[in-house]
């Protein structure tokens, strides 16, 4: 939080601010002191906010034309594609937007893993982030059901059936989720309701996420505590606003490439076939962003244990601040952790690839090894590493490494004079 008191300049502003301190909030946000060494991996928070707003706006406009009924949903999506003015554009932005959203969130999460952003005092920010991530998966899963194609139907069937693994009450829960004895119209209408609701829940959590962030302030690439405001920080506006804006433009180029040049490459052709409860497509695969978890599910030969493994793979992340016993945040000063970090990245990519392949033979074997390694990383390597690893000396301030270690006061003065 900014420490200084703020008074609006105009009389009207002061009158309003005394009654509802919105201007104080706006001032806090513009002046918010940010570490001056933030790199481009820190721009994904802003990009994620953009993705959420994009999904909400395109979703609301789709909802004006979409019909949530098992007999009409598929046709109404085709109607959006062919008849509605710019319907194709809005739908392609929404469908690809979900993928872009996950691309950004994965980068954002792996940024946190590399720089130790989940460690004290930022555990609550991290856990809210994991809840947002879970809700995103729920929203995307239910959104994918709405066009009522073959993948929609069978994806919904397989995922809801995961609950049937629960002993005793499992079947009852699945019937309750479906509102019938199979995925059908009641399932579609409730999924639409929840798909509509969840993004707004996410929006609320994003506010909490940022609020929790503004208590300790941003972590930074060297992971040390920064005195704020100080020579180590710059105000959010204009420095971070412009940098985030530039990164967002780059991101939008990638986004636009998908929307305009290969709008269906991330989807599945089978979803342009209307749902048929009597025929399962030969290869049902979830969307790419769920593949690593799907691989974990399939690599366990037992139904209940498979579901438990898959859920644990996600929930283990919430315990990460306590599993990682090292006091040093940034991987820059943790030579061993840095290597294990990249192995984990490779491991997750391998899992993703195996999730898309048939679960048999060599694929299955590799998926099993990768699943075991995933848990090994979090449950054994991280806790032990904190005690064993010899970390590098960390600098005392952000300015120190910029100046080559030896405090050169003349150079420091010159540097400071650049920012006014």
């Amino acid at each position: 939080m900014s420490d200084h008191e703020y008074t609006p300049k105009s009389k009207a502003g002061k009158w309003f601010n005394d009654r509802l301190p919105l201007l104080t909030l706006a001032n806090h946000l513009t002046d918010y002191p940010t570490p001056k060494n933030l790199n481009y991996w820190w721009t994904f928070g802003g990009i994620l906010t953009f993705c959420l707003i994009t999904q909400i706006i395109t979703g609301l406009t789709l909802a004006m034309h979409y019909i949530a009924h098992a007999d009409m949903a598929f046709d109404s999506v085709e109607h959006i594609m062919r008849d509605v003015n710019y319907g194709w554009l809005i739908r392609y932005i929404h469908a690809n937007g979900a993928s872009m959203f996950f691309l950004a969130v994965y980068i954002h999460i792996f940024r946190s893993l590399f720089y130790g952003s989940y460690k004290a005092p930022r555990e609550i920010i991290w856990i809210i982030g994991i809840v947002i991530y879970l809700l995103m998966m729920a929203a995307a899963f239910m959104g994918y059901v709405l066009p009522w194609g073959q993948m929609s139907f069978w994806g919904a069937t397989v995922i809801t059936n995961l609950f049937s693994a629960i002993p005793l009450v499992g079947e009852g829960i699945v019937t309750w989720l479906w509102g019938g004895y199979s995925v059908d119209n009641p399932t579609l209408t409730r999924f639409f309701t929840l798909h509509y609701l969840i993004p707004f829940l996410i929006l609320g959590l994003v506010v909490l996420h940022i609020w929790a962030l503004h208590v300790p302030g941003n972590n930074n690439p060297i992971g040390i505590d920064v005195k704020k405001p100080s020579k180590d920080t710059v105000p959010f506006h204009p420095y971070i606003v412009i940098k985030d804006g530039f990164a967002l433009l780059m991101f939008m180029i990638v986004f636009a490439f998908f929307v305009f040049y290969t709008p269906n490459i991330l989807g599945h052709a089978d979803n342009y076939i209307e749902a048929n409860p009597l025929v399962t497509p030969a290869h049902i695969v979830p969307e790419w962003y769920l593949l690593p978890f799907y691989a974990i599910l399939r690599s366990v030969p037992d139904k209940l244990l498979g579901v438990i493994a898959m859920l644990s793979a996600i929930f283990i992340l919430a315990a990460l601040p306590w599993l990682d016993t090292s006091k040093i945040r940034s991987a820059v000063f943790r030579p061993l952790y840095k290597q294990f970090y990249w192995i984990l990245v490779a491991d997750v990519l391998v899992l993703g690839y195996m999730g898309a392949m048939p679960a048999e033979g060599l694929y299955l074997l590799i998926a099993r090894v990768a699943t075991a390694y995933y848990f090994l990383h979090f449950l054994v390597i991280l806790p032990v590493l904190g005690f064993k690893e010899k970390t590098l000396p960390i600098p005392l301030s952000i300015t120190e490494p910029v100046l080559g270690g030896t405090p050169n006061l003349a150079a420091a003065k010159n540097k400071e004079s650049f920012k006014a």
Partner: protein, 169 residues
């Protein structure tokens, strides 16, 4: 102040909260139960099927409660194969006799007991069904033999109305 007063207050507070919780539960139940199958869904509970056109060695698929039901007219060889299996070795031990009313007709819900896909006819390592989703193999009695599915394909409630008609449900 005497000792008595705050105690009485505490009791009143606790009682009020307790009633509040019970009240919230009572209100929540209809909101939860509305998601269970409604009367119109439950009303579709039974179907009659004419079997006269099914040839030996063929399977027909019909819809019952939104789910596929496989009806296979088994050949004598297939029946013999289903009965030759050592029941004790099965993942979900069940004899073929327990799974059929008339050995010629195997009637079962055509839903993989793993995660609900529809298995393919005449496929897999056991001459029965194969589920393409995660690779479960079923034999000619619909019993799980290999793969992640935990149990045999389910047998619905059905009865023969006459020699050529069955009623499912």
């Amino acid at each position: 102040m005497s000792e008595k007063k705050p105690k009485r207050r505490e009791f009143l507070f606790t009682a009020t909260y307790a009633i509040g919780v019970v009240g919230a539960g009572v209100v929540a139940w209809p909101l939860i139960d509305q998601m269970n199958p409604d009367a119109s869904v439950k009303a579709l509970a039974s179907t009659e099927v004419d079997l006269s056109s099914v040839k030996p060695g063929n399977t027909i698929t019909i819809m019952w409660r939104g789910k596929p039901v496989f009806i296979r007219r088994r050949t004598p060889d297939e029946i013999a194969e289903a009965r030759a299996v050592n029941v004790k070795e099965l993942i979900d031990p069940e004899s073929d006799e327990e799974r059929v009313k008339n050995p010629e007709w195997l009637v079962m819900i055509g839903v993989c007991t793993h995660l609900g896909c529809v298995p393919l006819n005449d496929k897999g390592d056991y001459n029965g069904w194969f589920c393409p989703c995660h690779g479960s193999h079923y034999d000619i009695s619909g019993r799980i033999r290999k793969g992640p599915a935990p149990t045999n394909m389910e047998i619905p409630k059905y009865e023969f109305v006459n020699a050529n008609t069955i009623k499912i449900g």
